[in-house]
Each structure stands twice: as structure tokens, then as C-alpha cells.
């Protein structure tokens, strides 16, 4: 199973889910993620799995809730406007401590926005999205191979912490074709879902999947308990790539496909004599605060680059914590910054124009 295949990001994500043992997929059409439901509808019946096209994203996520509560590995995917509709369900899933994987192949917004790639759902993914005190683990792949590896890992993370995990990609990642390898899947842990609603068979007390705690003290306790788990995740699940950040003037920070452009910009800038490095978060929650904070001691400035009006930059500022200036450069609405755009920004910052 380790031969190289050429696959579109969206299809690779779908296959990865199947390799990870996901047998239930509930979807609804929206561009630019349509290859995922298409792939699932073809593949699932071949592996005794289920593809179901729901009547809306609202229904799809609630089917995910039911299936996850019944103990299944389950996934749904959508793009920005559809993910907005799923937020109620995501909040219930988080509140009921259910594991599932949600894929967001982001397009420009707000509103109906556009269908071109964007990163403008960062706040929605990382800062809550739905109501209440909760988090998602948010994985941000920048290549098709990484999308595969992360999708597989997402199911393990979800089961381990009993929480929803999001794969946050964009139209570029979803549509691009790259070679991928599917390694044979080894779960992190084998976890028996003793809490699932599978029917008591008269052998145990009823299992209840629920997020309602009418006594405020109970609800507070529940939230505190969940945030203790989040603290553990912040310590143990951060993934970040730090590229040549020793002894640099400017650190470029970007995630997902944007980070690929930023790496090209770094190369050009270095050839022109600028001392720049790159930090690429692979998880945006938990955020690589520590890695950034550490580099902030030696670097002179940070430049965050996003396909948005500036969202992750707020977390970068919190991580840098006033030690050094943090700049932002972004394009939005489906426009993608080019390496040369980024090099121009580096020049402005270095030339003191921005200092």
C-alpha cells in the first residue's frame, strides 16, 4: 500500500478518512469541496460504509452527532457558508464530548463570498464558531500528503480527547494534484467507546449523550473539566515547523497553502541578502505560542501573511507579547499573495519604511 498515487487534495482527504476506519460520511454539496462527497459516494459502498447526502449542512452535522454518539468514526465536510450552518451542531458535539472530524475547504467570505481559496475562517475555527466555552483541534495541512497524514491523525485525536477535530484547508489544497503515499494505518491507541448509544442489551445502565446541565455549578464543573483537557492538549498536541529562524531579522509566519508561497518568498529574499526565516503552524489550535515566543527573543520583527484581512495575526501578536513588532500582509476574497508581494513587504520592513 505504499506506492505513490497522484491525487487531488479533496480526494486524498476522503481516502485518508476511509483508511483511518471512517465508515460514515454525511455531506451536502458546496464548492470547492465537491470532490469529497463525490469520492465518498463512490468509495463508501465498496467498504461497507455509508455516504448520505443530507438536506442541509445543519442536518449533516446532526447526523454526525447521532453517529458519533452511537460510537462510530464519522466525518463531514463543507466550505465556509456550510460550515457556518454547522456551528450549532459543532457546539453540541463539543458539549456532549463526541469525537468527529470536520473538513472545511475554505472559500472567500463573508456571505456567499466567492469560490476561490481563502483563509478567512480562522477566527470561526479557532475562536469558537458556535456558542459556549469550547475548542476544536484545528489542523492546517499545506500539501496533499500532509492532508492525508493529518486526516488520519485527526480521527485518533478526536477519539483520544472525545472532541471534534477540524481539517482547515482551502480551495488550493482541495484542488491541487500531488503525489501521495498511504502508509498502513496504525492507531495511536485502541479505545473502546463504552459510552456510545448502542443499546444496553440489558447488560448495563443506559448511556446518555447530552450537553444540558441545568444546575450552573454542574455546567461550570463540566467546562472546567473540559478546559483541563484543553490545557493538556496545548502541552502535547502542538505541531509547528520552524525554518531557519536562528539569527534572522524577520520571521515570516503563515499556515496552509499560504506557507508554501511564503517559503518561496523566503528563498528569494535570502538570495537578495535579507535575513528571514519561516514559522509554519501545523496546528492553529493548539497554537504554537511557545515556539513563536522563543524566536521573538532573537528575531527583530514578524510578518504574518494570510489570505484574509488579518486573523491569525492576532494570535501571533499574543505569542510575541509585545517583544517585537508584528506586521501583517494579506490578500482576501480569493486573491493569493505572490512571493514577490511578500518580498516587497520584507523590503519595506527592512528599509525602515514600516519601523
Amino acid at each position: 500500500m505504499s506506492e505513490k498515487l497522484l491525487m487531488k487534495g479533496n480526494e486524498a482527504i476522503s481516502e485518508a478518512a476511509i483508511q483511518a476506519g471512517c465508515r460514515y460520511f454525511f455531506g451536502y454539496p458546496i464548492t470547492p469541496q465537491n470532490e469529497i462527497p463525490a469520492y465518498m459516494s463512490k468509495r463508501m459502498p465498496k467498504v461497507n460504509g455509508l455516504y448520505l447526502q443530507a438536506e442541509s449542512e445543519v442536518s449533516a452535522i446532526n447526523m454526525v452527532y447521532g453517529a458519533a454518539g452511537a460510537g462510530a468514526r464519522v466525518m463531514t465536510s463543507s466550505s465556509s457558508p456550510g460550515i457556518s450552518l454547522k456551528q450549532e451542531g459543532i457546539s453540541y458535539i463539543a458539549g456532549s464530548e463526541l469525537p468527529c472530524v470536520i473538513v472545511n475547504i475554505v472559500r472567500g467570505g463573508p456571505g456567499l463570498g466567492g469560490i476561490q481559496p481563502a483563509q478567512s475562517d480562522y477566527f470561526q475555527s479557532v475562536k469558537g464558531g458556535g456558542h459556549g466555552d469550547y475548542k476544536l483541534v484545528v489542523l492546517v495541512p499545506s500539501s496533499v500528503q500532509e492532508a492525508v497524514d493529518m486526516t488520519i491523525e485527526a480521527f485518533d485525536i478526536a477519539d483520544m480527547y472525545r472532541m471534534p477535530v477540524m481539517i482547515l484547508g482551502d480551495g488550493l489544497l482541495g484542488q491541487m494534484m500531488e503525489p501521495v503515499v498511504f502508509k498502513s494505518y496504525e492507531p495511536r491507541q485502541i479505545l473502546e467507546k463504552t459510552w456510545g448509544t448502542t443499546g444496553t442489551e440489558g447488560k448495563r445502565k443506559p448511556n446518555i449523550i447530552n450537553s444540558l446541565y441545568i444546575d450552573p455549578k454542574d455546567l461550570e464543573d463540566k467546562n472546567i473539566e473540559r478546559f483541563e483537557r484543553y490545557k493538556y492538549i496545548e502541552k502535547n498536541e502542538v505541531q509547528v515547523e520552524v525554518v531557519d529562524c536562528e539569527d534572522v531579522d524577520i520571521v515570516l509566519i503563515a499556515y496552509g497553502t499560504m506557507a508554501r508561497v511564503v517559503k518561496s518568498a523566503m528563498k528569494i529574499a535570502r538570495e537578495q541578502g535579507y535575513k528571514v526565516g519561516v514559522i509554519r503552524p501545523l496546528t492553529v489550535w493548539p497554537f504554537p505560542t511557545e515556539a513563536i515566543c522563543k524566536v521573538a527573543r532573537t528575531a527583530k520583527a514578524f510578518l504574518t501573511i494570510e489570505m484574509s484581512m488579518g486573523q491569525m495575526v492576532e494570535d501571533v501578536k499574543l505569542a510575541v507579547n509585545g517583544q517585537k513588532p508584528v506586521y501583517f500582509y494579506g490578500r482576501t476574497g480569493g486573491m493569493v499573495p505572490t512571493p514577490n508581494d511578500i518580498v516587497e513587504e520584507i523590503k519595506k520592513i527592512s528599509g525602515g519604511e514600516k519601523l
Binding site: E55, Y65, A70, G199
Partner: protein, 249 residues
């Protein structure tokens, strides 16, 4: 000595929170009795709504999930598709099922989803204090129709069984009532039949139960039963609206 009356095994031994005289309690008992009769407690997964029956997850001796407002049929779909051998039911009020959850209801029916919906129609939003429901009758006074429901500006009541009867995937639809002993017996039979059909993989089943809300109707429990008979029954006639099983037989 034989016991003439005892708690059904499928009904949990806890105090329910329903108002005195509310027929939600009777309906819970009927659902539990039907589960006992078919001996399916260990196989059943119930889905509780948002509404007065939100705590139903504590009241049945079977696995339960609590669903967001109106989403119970989607949640039940998820459960049933993972465990097709389980008996999966939702318990929903009229606001939950026929307003915010209309899409989930109709499409679960259209898919012929092999689940059972216990639909409690009390013509009002009970839990939030008695606002207009999609089933509120023309002229009926509620907190948000203080001058009576004006069909010109507030529209007409929705008849769930009549709507669903047009859908191919539906196996069994019956409207029953719990206003007297005879009707209570009929209601129990209907619920049992729905569960049996589900066991036999016949498809989507829904039992609509005309129910009272003395608290928000502003009536005594007894007056409420009269109001149900005098006002709800003429508009929502009892009877079977679809029965695929009997068609075939």
C-alpha cells in the same frame, strides 16, 4: 396477589418534571409500555428534543441522546445508520418537529428513514412559556398571539400527518389522542405498531398524539381535556393517514 398496576420496565424510576395534569407523562408511559410489550428496551435508542420533554433522556430505561432544537430526526438518522438493528425513536413537540425541525422531519420521511417519531402536538410552545406554535389553531390565544391567531398575518396551522401522507418513504402515520381511556388504549396500540413496523424494516413511522398544556392554555387539567376535544379534534381528526403494512397485507 397479582399487581394490577406497576411501572413499565422501560420507564425510569425517577420523578418527572412535567406540570400536574400534563399529558406528556401519560405519553411517556405509553412509549415505555410499548417498549416493554415488544421487549426492545435493550435495543432501543431514544432521542430527546428541545421542549418540555428535554429531560426525556432521564426518563426512559434505554440509551438516549439529547438533540438540538428540531434536529432529532437527523440525530436519529445518524444513530440508526450506524446500528440498523437498534430501534430508534424521537420524542418531539410541535415547535421542535413542525417549525424549526420541518426540514429534518420531511427529509427523514422522504428517505424512508427506518425510525419512529413520537410527535406530541399540544398546539403551543410549552417550555418557553406558551408562544404560538406551528400547530396553534386559528383564533387561539397564546403569549405571542394575544388577540388570537390571525391567519391573515400569522398564517395557518400545519397538519403534520396530512403533509407526510404524501411522501413515498412513509410506512405508517396515525393521529391519536390521550384525552380518555379508550383513546389512550388506541394511542398505545399505535405506538406499539410503529415500533413493530420499525423492527420489520418497514420504513418511516410517526405517531401524532394530541396532548394538553394546562399551564399555558390557562385551564385546569380537566378543562384542558375538554378544550382538546372541542377545539383540536375537529381540526386535527384522529385516524390512520398511511399504513403501508396493511396495504401490503
Amino acid at each position: 396477589m397479582t399487581k394490577a398496576f406497576e411501572r413499565p420496565k422501560a420507564l425510569a424510576d425517577v420523578q418527572q418534571h412535567y406540570c400536574p395534569g400534563c399529558t406528556h407523562g401519560i405519553i411517556h408511559r405509553l412509549v415505555a409500555e410499548a417498549m416493554d410489550c415488544l421487549d426492545i428496551n435493550g435495543k432501543t435508542v431514544g432521542v430527546a428534543p428541545v421542549g418540555c420533554a428535554v429531560f426525556a433522556y432521564n426518563y426512559f430505561n434505554c440509551d438516549m441522546q439529547q438533540a438540538a432544537h428540531g434536529r432529532a430526526p437527523a440525530v436519529a438518522t445518524g444513530v440508526k445508520r450506524v446500528h440498523p438493528d437498534n430501534i430508534v425513536f424521537t420524542y418531539q413537540g410541535d415547535g421542535d418537529l413542525a417549525a424549526i425541525g420541518t426540514a429534518e422531519m420531511i427529509h427523514a420521511a422522504a428517505r424512508g428513514e427506518n425510525i419512529t417519531i413520537i410527535f406530541v402536538n399540544n398546539a403551543i410552545y410549552g417550555m418557553t412559556g406558551g408562544q404560538m406554535a406551528p400547530t396553534t389553531l386559528a383564533g387561539q390565544v397564546t403569549q405571542t398571539t394575544p388577540y388570537g391567531r390571525n391567519t391573515q398575518t400569522q398564517g395557518y396551522p400545519i397538519s403534520v400527518c396530512e403533509i407526510l401522507a404524501t411522501i413515498e418513504g412513509v410506512a405508517y402515520l396515525e393521529r391519536v389522542s390521550v384525552d380518555n381511556v379508550k383513546n389512550i388504549r388506541g394511542a398505545k396500540k399505535a405506538i406499539e405498531k410503529a415500533f413493530r413496523y420499525q423492527k420489520e424494516d418497514k420504513g418511516f413511522t410517526l405517531i401524532e398524539i394530541l396532548s394538553t398544556c394546562p399551564t399555558n392554555w390557562g385551564l385546569t387539567p380537566l378543562e384542558s381535556l375538554d378544550w382538546l376535544r372541542d377545539n383540536m379534534m375537529p381540526h386535527y381528526p384522529l385516524g390512520i393517514f398511511k399504513d403501508k403494512g396493511e396495504d401490503k397485507a
